[in-house]
Symmetry: C2
Subunit: 540 residues, 2 copies
């Protein structure tokens, strides 16, 4: 104990400089005080150990620490612009985290919190920064953090039925989405998921269920070869879903695209006819509402007509793009979506909710039930609560343990409203056009993928100083440049592969992004380009 | 504005009685102040709207509110014993939550937080209470809440690779579990999931992959009829998994159990031989480490021998029961588990982490990769980061959007350590034996399912006053009694169906539970039993 008290005295004399070090200092002090308190307690208390739960022994100390952690969280968000987007995890931190021995003994709450502040929080993925424009990763909100905190407090299993508030929160969110997307209003026909990947698996499972009535009992062996159709721009999660469902990659018939990266619907029709002629059974068309590469929208009106004519399921992958329904200027892009049999999208993308929050909506009330209800399969009946069509969520999903991820979605929508969220989508699209205009103004030769419909821009430098017929050379230059920008900590693009060439890809989804961020991004990009080009010329 | 100020004045004069109403009152005051501030701002500010992110306009007010919410959260946990376990959602609250119109306009943070305190927090599922002993639902910890708060702050997509701290946190958790369960230490052979259901789907997908090498490309049509084996006590998620994977319920061969609810391994061997003789292909044996009904453990040593001999995959469903590895007295129950090809279990059960946190471990390093890696399928290669075998998690799971649920697990293990968590398991088992002893001492005729191995006890009252040969009558009596107890708000059992009879089922998993809770539970039960019995006698 004396050693500890000595350490406290030393710590008390330590100079402090900034906000970050003050929270760390406080937390270290708490750790000491916690340890001293524990020693004091253990020297006096020798009662029954059964009564030692995992709750704090000293609630008032725990409250202190919890409030410090909340401040660390809010500071982290508030000062996000003051820090680099990310920084590599140093090798010693990696070792401390990854190579730690199995923790056998208890440590104080403060001690573990201190670890979080020292080893975890300083090395984030980076996507809450306003200039993280890689892939489609958003940033969340303060409200989202509070909602998640409350969810973990109530800690419900949202697999069951109506006897708690979170059940209705999830039903409300689903109902709102049905109204937004123009789906008929009904209960038990939508549910929150980890993300679009899982919602896609569920959608295709429902489509499979409609195509093969006895698939749950009999499986696919000896069944017909089902076929799904999507454009070559479709997201990889589709193929993954078909594989998981036992349909195999070969069940995915990829259809070529037009110059605007949209599925060629005449090719689609021919493909369906040819496949039928071969004895294959078309069961699902997948339409893109915002492709991952370029943000292209398939013609969903035309796809829904084909789906109806061919009597196959229409699934729409609207992971982030379907959110344009909130933006009056761009709503027309998803015309026809209201005719889909299923829609998969994410709240943790353009709705700005924290991970994870995806969603599946099915058009017809019974499609999730008939695919996932356990009673359906075992007893031949679907259990229904008498009031209000209140089916437990276990009957609608593969998951039997579920948190209430609806609360953060409900919170975000309640706090910000669909109008403001829609406005932020328009802002991101405007920022992307501004990005485009800066690239166009540049003196360099830059190949830009067009059209730039939404919030995504793909471009590659094709320097006259290099042999631009050497595609590998130019690919490498651009991939390395993207890497340089990522490592700058100032801006963060990702890369894409379009028409067999590598591009730098920027996708603006942050509610924090501004035109000034575009200026900073492009300035950083051009500066690093010149350095990278000079290097390329040297090595050539 | 004047109306608002008038309302504030009235509110200021309101009398207050308890902690709960104080937080509500504060939050209402904040709401008023927020609205007034907004009015003040909007009357002066007419600048560019692009700069209005979804971040708080007034950070200091937002901090106030956030700290109030944290206090509400901590109060909720600290005073859990002072409230009923749950209460039904009143119809007007249900309407407010479920029938709310799509939120178009923004509301203040305080306003939405106030809704949470008024409509959400008072109507929890109930499982954080020390006498919620229905199903297997635990309660979480203060540390778990803080960890989730920090996770939502960093808001990572943990689908990717090594460039952030949370990646190593998840790798550490997986590594600790491999050590605990005696799996060979290797990277990329485990991952966190939403729960055991998803981990089961993934495990059986990996088993299917080993049985049919080209299943990802070619699917199951025209393939062999695979067969999985489990006891009749196996959890329903198994059948759901086989259905999703396209193998169908008929791929599940249920094997009968002995008097201790353990799979009859001689029957299993015969079933495998018979199925092979019919041309079916056995591909997976599922062993139970803690069945959901009675907490029975299959003989995993014997199962692993059979699996090796028959060259089929051994999957262990250890949803909650496998956690006994932490309890030296009961560790022997999972002997043989270290020979499994896959293990699925939950951290949100006996590890006391908040929902959702499940886990899959596979024995062999490549099994997840070969099942889920996208490059594997598309390019025929698996991308590998050069350092440290750091595969991105997307290559190991069906999910492409993933939160860092590892942080709460890491936090819980770091804070409490495996020894204390093991001790709490022993405590729950002791409490269950104490529960048993109280039932045995009761003057009533009670049929108790034996053995009571773990933390689960199933019992039914068989009153001499009623016709006990009328099974439906006795079933109903016990189901209604369980319902009475649930609605008392004092104790919370669930029910089970064992040997075609209805039982009341108690499963003690809370770190907060004590022997005194058992006293209160049994006392409530017996009191309500006498009332229910009197009612039954009247209606007879």
């Amino acid at each position: 104990m004396d050693v500890l008290i000595e350490q406290v005295l030393m710590k008390l004399r330590e100079p402090l400089h900034d906000m970050e070090s003050i929270s760390q200092w406080k937390m270290q002090m708490f750790t000491f005080i916690d340890r001293i308190a524990e020693l004091k307690v253990s020297s006096t208390n020798s009662g029954s150990s059964e009564n030692i739960s995992l709750d704090p022994v000293d609630w008032s100390a725990a409250r202190h620490i919890a409030h410090e952690m909340l401040d660390a969280s809010l500071n982290f968000i508030q000062t996000i612009r003051d820090r680099p987007i990310w920084r590599p995890v140093p090798e010693d931190v990696r070792t401390i985290l990854e190579d730690a021995p199995v923790p056998e003994r208890s440590r104080s709450l403060a001690d573990v919190c201190n670890d979080i502040l020292t080893y975890v929080l300083p090395y984030p993925r980076g996507n809450i920064h306003p200039r993280y424009w890689g892939w489609v990763k958003t940033e969340g909100t303060v409200g989202g953090v509070l909602a998640d905190m409350i969810t973990s407090t109530i800690n419900p299993n949202s697999a069951g039925g109506q006897f708690y508030s979170g059940y209705y929160v999830e039903r409300a969110v689903i109902d709102w989405m049905r109204q937004l997307f123009g789906f008929p209003r009904m209960k038990n026909a939508g549910v929150l998921t980890t993300g679009t990947s899982m919602a896609t698996i569920m959608s295709l499972a429902a489509a499979r269920q409609r195509a093969i009535k006895n698939v749950r009992e009999d499986g696919l062996v000896n069944g017909p070869q089902l076929m799904a159709y999507a454009s070559t721009e479709a997201h990889g999660c589709l193929e993954k879903a078909l594989q998981l469902l036992g349909l195999g990659s070969k069940a995915l018939h990829l259809i070529s695209i037009d110059d605007d990266f949209r599925i060629k619907t005449d090719q689609l029709k021919i493909a369906i006819q040819n496949d039928r002629a071969k004895g294959l059974i078309p069961f699902c068309i997948i339409g893109n509402a915002g492709t991952v590469n370029t943000g292209a929208f398939d013609d969903l009106v035309e796809l829904s007509t084909i789906a109806r004519t061919e009597n196959v399921w229409l699934h729409v992958d609207g992971a982030f793009g379907s959110s344009v329904i909130l933006d009056p200027q761009r709503r027309h892009l998803v015309a026809g979506l209201d005719q889909a049999d299923s829609l998969a999208f994410d709240f943790h993308k353009w709705f700005h909710c924290p991970y994870e929050a995806g969603c599946i909506l099915v058009r017809h009330g019974l499609d999730l039930q008939s695919t996932f209800s356990m009673e359906q399969s075992i007893l031949g009946i679907v259990r229904k609560d008498s009031i209000n069509d209140a089916l437990p969520f276990t009957q609608l999903t593969p998951d039997l343990s579920r948190s209430c991820r609806a609360l953060k979605v409900w919170f975000t929508l309640q706090e910000h409203g669909t109008l403001k969220i829609g406005k932020k989508i328009a802002d991101n699209c405007d920022q992307t056009q501004y990005f485009l205009s800066l690239l166009e103004k540049s003196k360099h030769t830059i190949d830009i993928i067009r059209p730039v419909t939404l919030n995504i821009i793909n471009f590659r430098f094709e320097p006259v100083e290099l042999d631009t017929t050497n595609h590998e050379l130019i690919d490498n230059l651009n991939i390395r440049l993207a890497n340089d920008v990522q490592f700058s900590g100032i801006a963060y693009p990702s890369t894409s592969c379009i028409r067999n060439r590598s591009y730098i890809r920027v996708c603006i989804v942050s509610h924090r992004s501004t035109h000034e961020d575009v200026d900073i991004f492009v300035e950083t990009l051009l500066k690093l380009y010149e350095i990278r080009l000079a290097k390329s010329q040297q090595t050539n």
